[in-house]
Symmetry: C2
């Protein structure tokens, strides 16, 4: 399985936000993340880096929020 873990970057540190993410879809409410079990989280953030071979998605909260 090629899911990835999503991390939230805060002050240079990456904190785990959601594991085993399959889908990421930007929408008006923010980013919708869905893991391989169908569990969903929405966050007002942007993608700052994908590193798929390392199974990493790095997010940063939107500044205006």
């Amino acid at each position: 399985m090629c899911e990835a873990n999503a991390y939230l970057r805060k002050d240079g540190n990456d904190e785990l936000f959601l594991e085993m993410v399959d889908r990421v879809v930007p929408g008006e409410e923010g980013l919708l993340l869905e893991d391989i079990f169908g569990r969903r989280k929405v966050i007002k953030a942007k993608i700052v880096e994908l590193a798929l071979v390392d199974h990493r998605i790095v997010l940063e909260k939107d500044e205006q929020n």
Copy 2:
């Protein structure tokens, strides 16, 4: 290896843009995509969907460009 293929969505069709993408990093010039061999492409586009289990990254050109 958990790389993905990047597609550009145009009029509802997804055209292959870059295969075996490892890294995606948004920057001022647009999205930087790097494949597992280190080959890079930059495109003024946004991510509209990640579907990692399907190895898919779907992009759409920025409207203002």
